[in-house]
């Protein structure tokens, strides 16, 4: 097959049609991206909402991603020691791992990042203040503006610049259950309130649904190809809430949201993501008309990649599945080659698969492991040459 344009390659994979090679989707956190960018001679290695996608495109990404929504800005921004930074939802974020860290240590630490895993702790930003913890908070709460030009404005520019060649994905990030527990009300609060104050939980989820439906529709109106909805409901070995609770709390709200998206553009592609094991609700995703599911953390119930592909691969495309928890950061080069080979064989057979690590590439991944993955993916991902059956 002659070489396809990246956006055509991506769209063909979403439709489970043959492609010239597997489409690719790499995402990196700042530390990993900056060390790799240096090797490629790319100066601007910014991450987050207003990131420079140059490095990702050099690695072969077929998609340009723009992340808006509740966790668009916090996880990639610099937060000072002891600072609480508030986003447009009024959620406060702090930083971990700073005790004992001095500016000198920080410099030393950065040096060690070039080729090795972290010798020191990599600071992460985490939600530390939740704006709604009572009915009174909820009644006084003002939802952010879904027509915010600061969020939406850059989409037009991205489409103008990249859409002729690349697939444009707008990521609403944490959207519903996850946005509620991790950000708006707090995790333990959320799970207890499901029993103690179900009306409050429903109110928060309805507010999120309205906000994200409007935000997504505004992005669709600007001509994007796909809306990615993130909603982590999977833990390592099982779902966090029962599949029945998900069907009650999340499914009808996503149904409404996705129908509204399709009213705005009947051809819009939809991706629904959850970390962890969410395999029990994949049939529900298919019912909701989701085009792409992932990033398929290969643990717990997602472990049986061959079985999942066989069961659902005809109805939904899949992305991810290459282990970032153990294999990518700690594997030997040969293990990584085998891992890439296996995931492509397991999920790529029959098409409808986009190769990707099962999440961001983090600071602890040695650069030789990233190279091993890139090389293996090049060696194994050519449709037709690699014996996919």
């Amino acid at each position: 097959m002659k070489e396809l344009l990246p956006r055509d390659r991506f769209i063909r994979a979403l439709r489970r049609e043959p492609v010239d090679r597997l489409p690719l989707f790499y995402r990196m956190k700042a530390e990993a991206k900056s060390k790799l960018a240096r090797v490629y001679g790319i100066e601007d290695s910014s991450t987050g909402r207003l990131h420079n996608p140059e490095l990702e495109l050099r690695l072969g990404n077929d998609v340009v991603l723009y992340q808006i929504g509740i966790n668009a800005d916090f996880s990639h921004r610099h937060i000072e020691i002891g600072e609480t930074w508030y986003n447009h939802f009024g959620v406060g974020y702090g930083k971990s791992g700073l005790e004992g860290r001095t500016p000198e240590e920080e410099k030393e630490f950065e040096k060690t990042q070039e080729f090795w895993g972290p010798r020191k702790v990599v600071p992460e930003n985490f939600p530390s203040f939740h704006p709604i913890t009572s009915m009174e908070d909820f009644k006084n709460y003002t939802w952010p503006d879904p027509a915010d030009d600061e969020m939406l404005g850059p989409i037009k520019e991205l489409c103008d610049r990249y859409q002729d060649d690349y697939f444009i994905m707008v990521d609403l990030s944490s959207t519903l259950i996850e946005a509620a527990y991790a950000h708006i009300v707090g995790t333990q609060n959320f799970f207890l309130m499901m029993f103690d104050q179900p009306e409050l939980i429903k109110g928060v989820l309805d507010g999120l649904t309205e906000y994200y439906t409007a935000l997504g529709k505004n992005a669709i109106a600007m001509g994007v190809d796909m809306i990615r909805v993130g909603d982590d409901v999977g833990a390592q070995q099982a779902m966090m809430i029962s599949p029945e609770q998900w069907r009650e709390l999340a499914k009808p709200r996503f149904d409404y949201m996705f129908k509204e998206f399709r009213k705005a553009n009947p051809d819009i592609f939809i991706k629904l993501h959850s970390c962890g094991d969410y395999s029990p609700i994949i049939p529900d995703m298919i019912e909701l008309g989701v085009d792409l599911s992932g990033l398929m953390q290969p643990t717990g119930g997602n472990k049986d990649q061959v079985g999942l592909k066989k069961k659902y691969g005809g109805d939904i495309s899949l992305v991810g599945g290459f282990d970032v928890q153990r294999l990518l950061p700690r594997g030997q080069v040969e293990d990584i080659r085998k891992g890439v080979h296996d995931v492509i064989k397991n999920l790529g057979t029959g098409g409808g698969y986009i190769f990707s690590p099962s999440h961001y590439i983090l600071a602890d991944v040695p650069i030789q492991n990233i190279y091993a993955m890139l090389e293996a993916q090049r060696d194994f991902s050519t449709y037709g040459r690699y014996p996919l059956d």
Binding site: S96, G97, E99, G100, G117, P118, V121, V122, P123, E124, F126, S128, T187, Q188, F191, L192, M194, F195, A235, Q236, Q237, A238, M239, M240, I241, S242, Q245, G276, T299, V324, Q325, R326, L328, P329, R330, L362, A363, D364
Partner: protein, 236 residues
């Protein structure tokens, strides 16, 4: 499903309760996470003069163990486990002072926390509640815990066990560092160290020098029980 967990009736409970006493409603209350009824019924049991150890074993544990087994078997999930744990906690709050007055020692002392750099707390807070309910005295140091704080708490509390949680591949490394710090401080052989968290594995537990690894909260509790028993046997 045939292997779905079922309520294990405490053998011969009638003989240990006053005439006409029933535990059925308390088993169900703990199972369903009704902390208001659990509080009320445990108080009634105390007022009826039932030995607090019997209230714990015959009244509270059956419903709690049932839900713990269901959680491990993925029949129930985090929200149900949390409300059961809260009910259990309500009952324990009433009988714990009575047990202490009877010079009943906790099963063991456990220091728990999430390692430096990591702010994930839902898993370790469930493990904490389960350990407390199983009879351990637990000090939870929270998240983003410096190794020195683990060592200090272990020394101050004369802990039997210390557990570190890590949920990121970038922070599991600090489980190893923290264990090394215990060694440097000369405190490593005074405690059993357990680790857990999504990116961890039995192989990693061995590599980083931990004494044990649990896949889920119930496994952590069972492991902790076994280790304190071994340790105590060693003392005799």
């Amino acid at each position: 499903m045939s292997d779905e967990p079922v309520l294990q009736y405490p053998d011969g409970w009638e003989a240990r309760a006053p005439d006409g006493w029933e535990w059925q409603t308390l088993w169900v209350a703990v199972e369903e996470g009704d902390h208001v009824y659990t509080d009320k019924r445990v108080q009634e049991a105390i007022d009826a003069g039932i030995d607090p150890r019997i209230i714990l074993d015959d009244g509270l544990f059956p419903g709690f163990n049932l839900q713990g087994d269901r959680f491990s078997a993925q029949v129930i999930f985090i929200p149900e486990m949390l409300i059961t744990a809260r009910a259990m906690k309500a009952g324990l709050a009433l009988i714990r002072p009575l047990l202490a007055a009877m010079a009943e020692k906790p099963l063991g002392t456990f220091i728990i926390g999430t390692v430096l750099g990591d702010m994930h707390d839902i898993g370790q807070s469930i493990v904490t509640i389960m350990l407390e309910n199983a009879g351990f005295e637990v000090t939870n140091l929270g998240t983003d815990v410096h190794p020195d704080k683990f060592i200090e708490a272990a020394a101050t509390k004369n802990a039997d066990l210390v557990g570190f949680s890590a949920l990121l591949s970038t922070t599991v490394y600090y489980q190893k560092v923290t264990i090394e710090e215990f060694e440097k401080a000369g405190h490593r052989d005074k405690v059993h160290i357990l680790i857990g968290g999504a990116p961890t594995s039995p192989e990693w537990a061995e590599e980083c020098g931990a004494d044990g690894w649990g896949q889920d909260a119930m496994e952590a509790v069972n492991l902790a029980r076994r280790l304190v028993t071994e340790k105590r046997a060693g003392w005799v």
